[in-house]
Symmetry: C2
Subunit: 329 residues, 2 copies
């Protein structure tokens, strides 16, 4: 763990500097403050670090990816601000959410501004630190992931109260909503580092797999962790009736009776019935299955890095793959 934190720390200053510079000129003051709020509230900045390490690991200069790394963090933050409006979440990163403080109109604009700034940031990548063709390819990867983020969030909204979602549909939703931006980070980083096409594909797939693993593990930890580690009651997803891989898998395999019981629990919004739901998950092996899928994704992600020569950056990418199973990113 300490090793990972050291890696994250190593680039924190450069990323924060890049973000600060990019956002410094925004006016009027209320838009400046609301756009900066979540950026300043912290977050581990694992996405931008993945972009920088991917650039480094294929033989590029890390700084060539700084502006794209910042863009990835801006896009992540933009999506959090808009998601919080849509989901009516009043808290984020231990602070009040943007719309809670500044109201919805300003929060919509703050998100839009970060989104605009993200593209401005990539475009301003010094042409001497990457060929124009590379910059366009990096932009393509990032723009494509933005479309997917929107589609993933829309799917997630569509899934609410729909108990017919298949495993493939669920995986496609979390790919778009969560993994696509991480895949864009590692892909764009590799492109800007001068990777060959096979390396670019491998790095994109690596990002996708650890992104999927993170989301699946997040679902899993909600049920198997304790309250102090989670910072919220065990089984919150069950209480909220959220679609998770455990739910999808159980509904696929369970008897008619257990299926109906699980659906009634998911619809009931009752913390007292979390234990019953977990018992049903266990009966059909859905907990082990979910954990195994997360582990498999991480294992495959690490294997993909065989395409890279040994380096400190490669070591860091291997460590970060395991890290997504442990902590909120």
């Amino acid at each position: 763990m300490t090793a990972v934190l050291k890696i994250l720390e190593k680039y924190a200053e450069s990323i924060n500097h890049e973000l600060e510079e990019t956002l410094s000129t925004i006016s009027p003051p209320r838009l400046h403050e609301s756009s900066n709020h979540l950026i300043k509230a912290g977050g581990k900045k694992i996405r931008p670090v993945l972009a920088i390490l991917s650039c480094d690991a294929v033989g590029g200069k890390p700084e060539n990816a700084f502006k794209t790394a910042a863009a990835i963090e801006l896009i992540h933050t933009f999506s959090l601000i808009h998601d919080d409006i849509m989901d009516k979440d009043d808290m984020r990163r231990g602070k009040s959410s943007v719309h809670f403080i500044w109201g919805e109109p300003m929060a919509i604009l703050a998100g839009d501004t970060l989104f605009s700034k993200a593209f401005e940031s990539i475009v301003k990548t010094q042409l001497d630190s990457g060929s124009p063709e590379q910059i366009i390819k990096a932009l393509d990867a990032v723009a494509d992931s933005c479309v997917k983020i929107c589609e993933g969030q829309a799917c997630d909204m569509e899934f609410e109260g729909n108990f017919m979602v298949s495993e493939a549909e669920y995986m496609n939703m979390i790919y778009k909503k969560t993994a696509a931006l991480i895949a864009a980070a590692t892909k764009a980083g590799a492109i800007l580092g001068g990777a060959n096409p096979s390396q670019v594909d491998a790095m994109e797939e690596y990002g996708k797999l650890i992104g999927l693993a993170f989301q699946i593990q997040d679902d899993y930890l909600d049920v198997v962790s304790d309250e102090s580690a989670l910072g919220k009651p065990v089984g919150s997803d069950i209480v909220e009736g959220k679609m998770t891989l455990m739910v999808v898998k159980t509904l696929e395999n369970a008897s008619k009776e257990d299926k109906e019981k699980l659906i009634s629990i998911l619809q009931e919004n009752n913390l007292g019935r979390v234990g019953e739901a977990i018992t049903i998950f266990e009966k059909y092996g859905s907990l082990e299955y979910t954990h195994q899928v997360a582990l498999d994704n991480v294992r495959k992600a690490k294997q993909l890095l065989d395409i890279l020569e040994d380096s400190e950056a490669k070591k860091a990418l291997l460590l970060l793959a395991d890290f997504v199973l442990e902590r909120k990113i």
Copy 2:
């Protein structure tokens, strides 16, 4: 007028085809429908036509600007969708607004999706129809205008109920909110057409000036037109207490007594007092002043086109400069 409509018609099919293709792959269906709603509701598509004509007028192939032209229309539409949420407007282009039909969360996402697609579209400009350096410069112009649109909308929100706004602040607000995207259209078009730096600057300034003229004239027409031409009661801006160049100019020049009277009218939300406000505007010459500023901007915009060799596209740009004074764009 007919000449202008012919110009707009000439490119309508290409632009609509480009938009349709760009948006065809969006899923799930609700996101696809909500994203397409305003695009299909019409609009004159004057912004994309300006991009294409600017490319053509500097000697480029019009089709080199098609994807960027589509992107400009996508960004315009994205900003309308989000503005309608912020302003709680239930109608747009004679139809129900996106949030009115699909709800705010889906409308936020529909806007975000169009925004993402805009950048995807520019990036996908065939490299053989423009050098990568040109595509990056075009992207830079467009991304920069997106930041300005957000800043302009935030300023507009800040101005509500603020009667100390100066003429310079007002002009800066409408530049960012309305003119910057039009300037990006003409600038990006010129870049993709292979314009030299002086031509690029002139085309950007041309776009900015006709954008300003359009907004100022829009304010002016609200007071001097009749209801049938406007499609809404004369003086709606006054009833809504909107900041316009007439208001800013009058508050700058009026006696203490007239100033207080005008402010009380703007705060009262009363259609019956529109006439009184217009009388005060006239007393201080604010109507003539406003109309003159719009005319001056159009005149200067047309002069800037002297830098271009004579062509059909140049003729069209001259006609379009006058057109912004006459009709909703």
